[in-house]
Symmetry: C2
Subunit: 142 residues, 2 copies
Amino acid sequence: MNSISTVSENNSLFLKSKGIKPSYQRLKIYSFLVEHKIHPTVDIIYKNLCSEIPTLSKTTVYNTLNLFIEKKLVQKLIIEETETRYDINTSMHGHFKCEKCGEVCDIFLDDDILLSKKLQGFKINETHIYFKGLCQKCSTKA
Amino acid sequence: MNSISTVSENNSLFLKSKGIKPSYQRLKIYSFLVEHKIHPTVDIIYKNLCSEIPTLSKTTVYNTLNLFIEKKLVQKLIIEETETRYDINTSMHGHFKCEKCGEVCDIFLDDDILLSKKLQGFKINETHIYFKGLCQKCSTKA
DNA sequence: GTATCTGCAAAACATTTGCAATTCT
DNA sequence: AGAATTGCAAATGTTTTGCAGATAC
């Protein structure tokens, strides 16, 4: 048993533990999210898995991601109205999108910000924080 | 000169000062945003102005809002992937959307949160903070 | 053998674009 | 008249839905 099959088996067991039948497609999509924490769009996931799974359809990518969201394995990121991104990290953190290179990266949020949850009378279920601007690479080049 | 025409004239002068020709449609859309700070969608604006401007088209609403955004009179609010909202208040503030009644309200953000702008190496142009959950009304009823 | 999952094609929506008609000065 | 604005119809792009075939247990 090599390390690759071990990882795959672990992912498979993990999906099962969350009540998700680990089909070939689901496993590949889940693995992609774990191995590429780039907050990909459906299109990015689809294009990357196409060569490995020639019969893959975008419908399956959508179906799978919606299932993962329902089971709380993934969260949606809505930064642009034209592109929905998916994040395998469901813990509370912020995001930064570079307006030049388009990359989205994680932003650590300290407790001060999380205290903003103390909003009187509101029952907060979700907190979304994101920034737009120029990333380190793009701002030094400019 | 009554107070209504004064308001209208003020809005007209304000649009001019921002380099926007104050057409009838633009003035009505601007006034609607000022008088109804409910972060409306294009559809809400359109439906509300239809009776007053029977020939109004959604294209004009879109065109006008995009112009207002370009001239920094309005900011886009993207909370749901399916609905873009528009906010006449362009100062830094957060939003809360109630998952039950669907209303979006403003959230005052104190300086602690704004300090989060100190993100090393990033040039921040926009900060977006929003919450989802149950509002006061809906959580007491539940 | 029955449930579930996949994936094609079509539908559903929101937004933008092309362009002709209208309006304003 | 000339330039900008409006609004219809069509195009675009993303996500969902219906359904038939494939797959899994």
